[in-house]
């Protein structure tokens, strides 16, 4: 795919992906490279600051957020494989830094942050989609921060159809929160788990073979419940699903061609 001059992009991998789900991060990078991007990963990135910010610890959030602002010096898009962190950058940074000396940088960074599925959808426009499959369906969970924070509906559905040919669907009450909610999950764990259980039941009721989401926070809660209840369904980051699909397709082409 990569022909001609490459498009420079930054990737902000997120703290959750860094330690718990680096495969999602690597697959994000593979996808971007496959579709012609030169990926830059600033090694000094840590966390966007959202956990503290949402918990009411604004000063602490600011201290960590400040560090991230210095990383993206070139005017390239900043691709974030999480609706939640992307929403923090895009919407909360300008407010968080409103009366801060770095207000201008914060606005600049906010304006360049793009959530992964939104970025891929633009990047892969005109992609020759594989023939439509009918067998294994995919169910997509869109995080509330992607849906409402970023105003992005279920972009995953279009992206999955375009890149894999697999039919994709959403569960009943798709707009309902999965119950993760960051520190909410540990401050009100019973309530959070009950919400997660409802979401998992709705996801399982679709009968889909694959569960994908653009947010590892949601996935941590969903997979935690699914695993604990012995369910066959297991969620993965949408980047991992898409990258595997692309590789399978390339392999098949290799065999048949």
């Amino acid at each position: 795919m990569s022909q001609g001059s490459k498009r420079d992009v930054y990737v902000f991998g997120t703290c959750l992906i860094d330690v718990l789900y680096p495969d999602a991060g690597m697959d994000t990078v593979h996808l971007l490279e496959y579709f012609g991007c030169q990926v830059h990963f600033p090694q000094d990135q840590t966390c966007c600051g959202q956990p503290a910010f949402n918990s009411g610890f604004r000063r602490e959030a600011l201290k960590v957020a400040e560090i991230q602002l210095a990383l993206f010096t070139e005017p390239w898009p900043i691709v974030v494989p999480s609706g939640s962190c992307a929403s923090m950058f895009r919407h909360d940074y300008p407010a968080l830094f409103a009366e801060h000396p770095l207000a201008t940088q914060a606005k600049d960074v906010a304006s360049r942050v793009v959530e992964l599925t939104a970025f891929l959808l633009t990047l892969t426009e005109g992609y020759a989609s594989p023939p439509k499959e009918t067998d294994a369906t995919v169910v997509a969970h869109t995080s509330c921060s992607a849906r409402r924070g970023l105003g992005q509906g279920a972009l995953a559905l279009a992206l999955i159809r375009r890149l894999s040919g697999k039919p994709a669907t959403e569960p009943e009450e798709a707009e309902a929160c999965c119950g993760f909610g960051g520190t909410f999950a540990v401050k009100q764990p019973e309530l959070s788990a009950a919400m997660t259980a409802s979401k998992c039941h709705a996801l399982q009721a679709t009968g889909a073979a694959h569960l994908v989401s653009g947010d590892c926070g949601c996935l941590m809660s969903l997979n935690g419940y699914l695993e604990q209840s012995g369910a066959a369904l297991k969620g993965e980051h949408i980047a991992s699903f898409l990258w595997r699909e692309l590789q399978n397709r390339t392999a098949r082409k290799g065999v048949s061609g």
């Binding site: 991998g13 703290c15 992906i17 860094d18 330690v19 718990l20 789900y21 680096p22 495969d23 991060g25 690597m26 990078v29 990963f41 090694q43 000094d44 990135q45 840590t46 503290a52 910010f53 949402n54 918990s55 009411g56 610890f57 602490e60 201290k63 960590v64 560090i67 509330c144 409402r148 924070g149 009450e173 707009e175 309902a176 929160c177 119950g179 993760f180 909610g181 960051g182 520190t183 909410f184 999950a185 540990v186 401050k187 009100q188 764990p189 019973e190 309530l191 959070s192 788990a193 009950a194 919400m195 997660t196 259980a197 409802s198 941590m220 809660s221 997979n223 935690g224 695993e227 604990q228």
Partner: protein, 482 residues
């Protein structure tokens, strides 16, 4: 990360939530009722643009009203007085209760051995100030006339929803309640018959009541009119049958002009119950005039502050006063839909409660309920007057975190440690690497995340490490290809 301070020591939100979560029936009640209301609202606003237009218009009106609140209240008082409505001001709930009791005692002649009978239209403001308890302590009989409130009062409970007070009760429970508490009432689960029984009881009481007490949905300044919405006719009866009508009105309910009313009515009823209009729209502009045959001989308006001036002066939280009490935030809140209103332990539950209660009764009294939110944003999306509820809930969390007892507590230390770990990139890379290397030691159970969720295990290598290797590999392969 739970940092329960001493002020949260009594059975708190979490314990109450756990109780509800133990009852699948109750959860199903809430889930189905909320889904029904959401669906009704969605059909009432089938056109999203229609909603957004009405929302913008309603927000503008309420914001305009707030921007000139003191002046509007004076106009309201002047116009009401001209109309013959007697206006009173109450700074606190206790003051309002005293005032209302005095008005009643001055109006209703003393009858030895016969208590004064008060009939009430639905009013959250009177719930807020605990009026029934106060009046009953002074020997009066209070009867709620809204069917939901009537049921809740009979069950000796409090409303669990600001629009649907008895939404937590199933028809079987109501059937049992009626047959046990109402004389000569057979057990029936037939909803129409149950409502008929309730209405029969109420009808008799309307005739006997000395006083009718109602809330106010909108107080219109330029005409001195009180607008009261309802579906059962009990509001109209409460405000017209007894000889004395007392309306209790939060000061934020004032709007500038009569012409502001239509858009607000449209948005309120559609947001609350999905109705284009309620069955009754009462516009009360005076007591009975000389040439009129019915209506109360005296109408009193009690303008209630109870913390609202404080909200008005608080730049960050002032938007709270735009609230028109439609309940849409509750219907759309995934937390509320799981556990209902009682778990919040407050008069106003759900998202708006999480913002209002700490302002009325203090963040110390209602700190924990601010945790009961996943910041999913559903409430803010449907609020008909555009209150940024998620932002305001987060703001309340910030204020709680600044309490001295909280900033010295466990959670504050966790965040300080977090800053240390995430503010220094080199240090971060070291500890995150150590965490991945010690992954086999990571706990299988980690409260409070488990027991219902498996604990994720750190990966073999961090993304930082893998990206470092990846970049090196890309460099080499780049050089080779050259």
């Amino acid at each position: 990360m739970t940092a329960h301070t001493s002020s949260d020591a009594q059975p708190g939100f979490r314990e109450r939530a756990i109780q509800v979560l133990a009852s699948p029936d109750l959860q199903e009640n809430f889930h189905d009722a909320m889904a029904f209301l959401r669906q009704k609202r969605a059909s009432a606003f089938a056109d999203e643009e229609h909603f957004q237009r009405l929302q913008a218009e309603s927000q503008r009106i309420k914001q305009e009203a707030l921007s000139q609140l003191p002046d509007l209240l004076e106009t309201l008082e002047a116009r009401c007085t001209v109309n013959g409505i007697q206006v009173h001001w109450a700074e606190t709930g206790a003051e309002a209760c005293d005032l209302i009791r005095q008005i009643i005692e001055a109006h209703v002649p003393h009858r030895e051995g016969q208590p004064i009978r008060v009939i009430k239209g639905k009013s959250m403001a009177t719930e807020e100030i605990g009026l029934n308890t106060h009046l009953e302590q002074h020997g009066m009989h209070c009867l709620e006339s809204d069917m939901g409130e009537f049921i809740v009062q009979l069950a000796k409970q409090s409303p669990s929803h600001i629009i649907m007070p008895a939404i937590h009760l199933r028809k079987q429970e109501i059937a049992r309640l009626f047959s046990e508490k109402l004389p000569d009432t057979p057990y029936t689960e037939d909803v129409d018959r149950l409502i008929g029984i309730g209405r029969q009881v109420l009808r008799e009481q309307f005739e006997k009541a000395d006083v009718g007490i109602s809330g106010v949905n909108f107080a219109i300044a330029d005409t001195g009119t009180l607008c009261l919405l309802e579906n059962e006719g009990n509001g109209r009866l409460s405000t017209t049958a007894p000889d004395l009508h007392i309306a209790v009105c939060g000061i934020e309910k004032v709007i500038p002009r009569l012409s502001d009313l239509p858009p607000l009515l449209s948005v309120l009823t559609r947001s609350a119950t999905g109705q284009a209009i309620t069955t009754y729209v009462n516009l009360i502009s005076s007591p009975r005039r000389l040439d009129e045959k019915d209506g109360p001989s005296a109408v009193h308006l009690v303008l209630l502050d109870n913390g609202r001036s404080r909200m008005f002066q608080d730049a960050e939280l002032q938007a709270t006063l735009r609230c028109i009490r439609c309940g849409a935030c509750m219907n759309h809140c995934p937390v509320y839909a799981k556990i209902g209103g009682h778990a919040y332990g407050s008069v106003y539950p759900g998202p708006i409660g999480q913002v209002i209660m700490p302002q009325i009764e203090g963040i110390r009294a209602h700190g924990e309920m601010t945790e009961a939110c996943s910041l999913n944003g559903a409430c803010g999306e449907v609020c008909p007057v555009g209150i940024p509820l998620p932002d305001l809930i987060r703001e309340q969390r910030e204020r709680r975190a600044q309490l001295p007892e909280y900033s010295r507590g466990k959670e504050a230390w966790i965040w300080r440690l977090w800053v240390l770990g995430y503010r220094h990139p080199q240090l971060y890379r070291i500890w995150s690497r150590v965490v991945t290397q010690l992954r086999r030691l990571s706990p299988r159970r980690l409260r409070p995340w488990s027991p219902s969720r498996a604990v994720p295990r750190p990966a073999r290598q961090t993304l930082h490490e893998r990206m470092k290797a990846h970049a090196a590999q890309m460099n080499t392969s780049g050089k080779h290809s050259r």
